[in-house]
Structure formats: C-alpha cells, structure tokens
Symmetry: C2
Subunit: 442 residues, 2 copies
Amino acid sequence: MREQPLMVNAFDPARGPVADAEVQSLITRRARVLGPSYKLFYDDPVWFVRGEGVRLYDQAGNAYLDAYNNVPVVGHCHPRVVEAVARQASTLNTHTRYLSDVVVSYAERLLATFPAPLSNVMFTCTGSESNDLAFRIANAYTGNRGIIVTSNGYHGLTAAVAAASPSLGRGVMLGDHVRTVPAPDAYRVGRDQVGPKFEADVRAAIDDLARHGIAPAAIIFDTIFSSDGVLSDPPGFIAGAVAAVREAGGLYIADEVQPGFARTGDAMWGFQRHGVVPDLATLGKPMGNGIPIAGVVSAPETLRSFADTARYFNTFGGNHVSCAAALAVLEVIEEEQLMANAQRVGRYLRDGLSKLAAQDERIGEVRGAGLFIGVDFVRDKKTREPGPDTALAVVNRLRQLRVLIAAAGPRGHALKIRPPLPFTTGDADEFLDLMGRALRDV
Amino acid sequence: MREQPLMVNAFDPARGPVADAEVQSLITRRARVLGPSYKLFYDDPVWFVRGEGVRLYDQAGNAYLDAYNNVPVVGHCHPRVVEAVARQASTLNTHTRYLSDVVVSYAERLLATFPAPLSNVMFTCTGSESNDLAFRIANAYTGNRGIIVTSNGYHGLTAAVAAASPSLGRGVMLGDHVRTVPAPDAYRVGRDQVGPKFEADVRAAIDDLARHGIAPAAIIFDTIFSSDGVLSDPPGFIAGAVAAVREAGGLYIADEVQPGFARTGDAMWGFQRHGVVPDLATLGKPMGNGIPIAGVVSAPETLRSFADTARYFNTFGGNHVSCAAALAVLEVIEEEQLMANAQRVGRYLRDGLSKLAAQDERIGEVRGAGLFIGVDFVRDKKTREPGPDTALAVVNRLRQLRVLIAAAGPRGHALKIRPPLPFTTGDADEFLDLMGRALRDV
C-alpha cells in the first residue's frame, strides 16, 4: 500500500508555473506570505471572487457548480445570513461574560433540535476546538485518557486532536493513548458483517489499551465517516462499537462537523440516522454558513467534573455576530425545508450516479445519505481494490469542466459529493451530465 | 497565600437571585443552556444590547464606559469594519484551498508591520489555536518539548495550551514538560533587578527541565504580562531570559494576543517595546475587532520542519469575511492614528491615576504602556503585600458607576485598564472622576 500523501489533490508548485500568468502571480504572492504549510487544491488552482447559492465565480467570470463545500450549507452568501451578520455587527458584538439574549436564544433554538439528555451547549470557534474541548470533558468525566479513532479519521488540528487524526499522515504522530480501528467499510467487509466487525475491532483496541494500562476516555467518529471514504450504511451499525466503549467506561463523541445540520436528509444530526445518542456531539463547519462558530453539545451531568475543575471562556466562542449568523442558518434550513431537499435531491443524485456506475467498471459503489455521497472507485470490481488514480483524474477533469468536488478515503479513492443544501434536481442533472463526460474523458 | 479562585470577579449564583427580575430570568435561561462551566462577570451581571465606540448600552438604556474590552480595538461596531464585513459576506466567503486576493492582500498588509525575518503568517480563528499551533511548530523546529511560562500566565484553552496556562487554576493540570517561573514584577523585585532575576529564574527552569531529560521547545509570554498583573517595565528586561532559552535550543514565542495591534502606544507589537524580535508571534483577540481571526507570524525557515511533516488547513482560518474585517482594522488603526492616541491618552490616564495613587495608601503602583494600564493595590505600601479585596471592590463599584474594568494578577490585586483604542482624554477624565469616587466609596 502506498504511503498516505500529505494531501490528496494538492497543487504541486514543483511542477512549474500554471498557464495563466495572473493566476501564477497570485500563487507566488500567496506562497511568499502564507509559507510552506499551506496547500492549494488542484493541478490548476482556482481563484474565486464571488459566490451565490451553489455557484462560485472565478476571476475571469466563469461559473463553477459547487458540489463540494459543506460550510456554506444554506448556499454561498445567503441573503438572510448576510443580513443577520450585518445587522448584528452594527449593533453589538461582545462575549459571554456579559449577559446576552442573542447567545441564549440561539442556544435554546439549537438545543431544541437535539434529543434528551443533550441540553447544554458550549461554544467554540472551530471543529478542532470543539473536539479538543470534548476530549478535555471526556477526560474529566471518565478519569481515563484513551482515545479510539478510525484508521483514516480526521478530527482537527490542535495538538490534542491532531494526535488522534490519522488522516493527517505519518508525519503527524498519534498519541500513545490513541488506537486506530479499521474504518467500517461495508462495501469491502459486507453489509451484514460491518457492524459486528466494527464492534470486534473496537473491543480489540480497548483490550490493547488495557494491556498498556490505559482505559478509554472516548471513541470519536463522524457518522458518515467522511475522511474514511463516506461510509454510511447500514443505519445502526455503530451501536455495538459504542456499547463496547461505554462498557469500558468511555464516552461516545459524535463528530457532527461533517454530517450535521440536516445534510444526511433523514435527520438533523448524523447520529440520529443510527439511532444512537452520543454523550457529546461536536459541531463545526456549516454552523454559521462560513462565519466561525462551533460547539460541544452535552448532558449537564457529563460537564460536571470538567466544570468543577476548569472555568470555560472562549473569547470569540458565542460572540453575537457568529450566533446571529448561526440562528439565521437554522431558520433558513427550516423555512426552505433543506433537510427534505437533501433527502429528495440526494436520492435523485445517487440514482443517477448508480446508472453511471452500472455502465462503468471503475465504479464499485455509490453510497451515502442525503447530500453526502460517496462514489467508490476500484481497479477491479471483483477484488474491490481501491482505484485512487481514477478518482484523482475525475476530480481534476471535473475542475476543468467547472464542477467542484474532492476525493476521500485512505487511498483517496472515493469521490466526496457534499454540495450546499439548496442543490436542485436541475443542479443534479448538470452534475450528472458533466460527471458522465469526465468519466468518458479520463 | 489563598488558593487561586476559578475566576476573579465571577458572579456566584449560589448567593441568590439578582435584584432585577428580567435580568435574573435571562441568567436562569442562560445557565440552563450553557451549562455549569460558563461564568458571568460581577456580583450583579450586566446585560448589553448595543455598542458604539467606547460605550456599551444595557437593556435599560444605560451607557457604560468600556475601559476593559481590548477585542473591539477600533471601537465597538466601528462602521468601517461593519461595512467591510457586510460587503465581503455578500460577495464571497470561502477557504484558503482556493486562491483568493483578500487573504493574500491582508497577509501582505499585516506582515508589513513586522520586522525581519518575520514574513510568513498562518491563520487560525482564536489565540488558543495560534498558541497551540506555535507549540506544534516549536516542537517540530527544535525537536524539544519543554515549555516555560510565567507563574500566572494564560495562553488559551486547548488541551496543549491549557496545560501551559497556570492562571486557569489548580484544577487544570500543568504538563510534565511545563515549568513556571515567577512573573517579572519590578514593583516587588526592583526595577534594576527584574531583568537579571527573570533570566536567572528561566535558567533555573531550563536546568530543572534538563534534570528530567527535557530540553526547552519554547518560552512563551506576552510582553505586557497581562494575567500576571500588567508588568510593563523597564523596556528591554526580557532580553536575558530570551537569550537563555535560545542558548538551550528553544524558541521565544511572543503572545501578542494582549499587547498587539498598537495598544502599547510605542509600537504595533508588544515585543518591539523590548527590542527583542521573537521566533514566533501569536495574534488573536483584537485582530478582527471581534470577528474571529487569529494567526501565527514566523520566519519561513522556522516553519520548514513543521511543513515537511504536516499540512495545514484551518477551515475558517483566513476566511474572506474575517480577513476583510482584519484589513479594515489595520486601515482604521493607521487612518485614525490610534497608536499615537494610545500613547497620548495612555500617558494622560496614567498621570491622572498616579495623582489618585499619591493620595491613596491602597495603591502601590500605576504602570503600563499606552492604553494597557495596571493599578497595583496593596495592603501596605511598605511590605507591598497585594490587596486583592480592594481591587475586587473597586471593580464591582465601578460596575455600579457604569465603568467596565477587571482585575488581574496572581491574587487578582491589579486593575487591568485596557479600553478600545479610540479612548479620548475626555473619556479618561470621566474614568478618573468615577475611579476617584469608587476609591472613596470602597
């Protein structure tokens, strides 16, 4: 198996300048100030200057169909969010050590979408901060420090969560308290076997931690297993693994940064598809449609040990402008019925992709839930060996055809289709047409 | 010496309901959704609904003079920042894996304010994320893991930086790789001795780390030593301590979250007052006037080892809206000459406070730089024993008089005066008048 690259589909400046001199000039200026750690998408990077709905526009005025970005969940530059941000920014923007109706009203509205006993929210600014805080809470509650993650999981970039994010690559060391389990890949393991195998793998990880004197504080995964290649089915398959961790005294942290906010179509939160209520749910990316806001949702009881030892204050966490943006997002999801749209258009898109797959030996499986869809490329439909080269070629061909998409999975072999939720069947038709063309071209 | 409380000046709900029923109702709703870790300021918490310049307005329409909040550095709801945010939010808001002129132009403008060789910036969303990233960079560059901090330092709330933030209190464990040194308190140590003593303490910490097989990755402090009680002088006193860490192979991380962005009046960055260029400068709070944006500034060379092992991508870090806000902040600081204002009004305010101090046995020293001012309360001017009770009483009396301020220092004995930078001499007169009244009343 080849070494995990630092990033699938990264622009490589060593390959020489790009064709457009103006674009190359911006690439050069960017490298000079942002430094060596920053990567760009694509062999031929894209420069955007405007966004609206499910479209982004480049500096030459070309429109791109955005089938990738989950952050602008209600669409790029949604006027309701823009208006809420502008109004709040001109009225008041301060922090949670003063009383504020905005933050409390938003928290109430958000928590109404969660099942009992999840009735508290702590605000952060990023998914990374949310997972970092969830680890601190889990450590305090359980008294344990072990963390279990899937083999290509990604949970963020603070030191603590990077040490539990194998998808960052072999250069970023996992913690000695971290164990990885194989991602629950039903396509390769078998639909009936994936749940039992996931549970057995987690039990083996707990055993191995115990052999090192470590008990689990938590298992963390997102219920769509995004960076593991979009592993959605069958609903409910996570139950055994979660039960095993709880038996050993650990918590289940549902990382909702990817599947949350109605994207899976069936429910507001990814864990609800599986019928398993987590101990902590961590929120991020789509929460403010791009305005930084994130959080950790919990039962009050779970927070008690943490609260007894540590105060919590995040200067920007729960600031008024971010809360106003986030409140507008919840309102738009409800008023525009974006969950039902995700379910309906997601099914339409999966059906169309399945038709393409039936005629293409390189597509092993189309899967997903709502508007979170994976297309699994293989070298051989019988052996189901991953086909990352085709996936990468399709991603770059679609970029030329002005469709944004990305690849995921341990080998980068699965397309990750994850558009803003106001994606229509017309957008889906356009996507399917250009996807068919890309498949013919590569 | 008494135990460090979880938070100086926190509202204690166990003391019963507050007088205003409407305020109490919001306190109750807030506690129900935000949970047990959140604290409010003051015995009698304040509910704000509007902000403008250096004023905040409560739900009953009362105006408060803001002498505390450094985040709204160019003033609450500055129209230039509001306009930039609204314009950018309605145009485009995406991430750094696409090309963007906004993020590059802002980075160029920001870096122009730094001395050589600091010419790269990496964007995060919070000061915590910046310090966490700086630790990861320092670990990669030095190959070491030791961290040295001052005894009441605060650097944020991710697991890694909380473990190096003694001011969070004894409930939050310091890492086994962390050593604390006494804060360089010239008032108690002597102005001539504070530099040599700080250096000697740091050398002792390095020695103790070495005795445990640990070499220093970094020393981190903010050059105004905000949570240690605002320790500003004499300029240059940090040089020996920094040299000692560098000799031992570690870096100097200047935490500019507090003193940065022109606040100290003499320079844009706190470290410039001391004439010592850091290896890494971390930015936060005031950067976007309340819109979440933060960063790490470095020489490209310092980033190389980190970049060779880890890609860097922070979804919201360097988003267009935050960069637009931050660019407007730099423009306003320059156009409204807020650095010169900080110097002039800061001196005026310190002079006025010194006059109050001359007539008051409870004030040991007035110190600071620009609009970052500390007032050190003592029980006895001879022994210089800290006087936290008076400090806390003054903070709460000033809240009744509608002036916002806070206390800092290991005992909470130093007032921390840190207003938005458009503070005028008229505002200073008002502050001095009410401060005099508070001193008479407590």
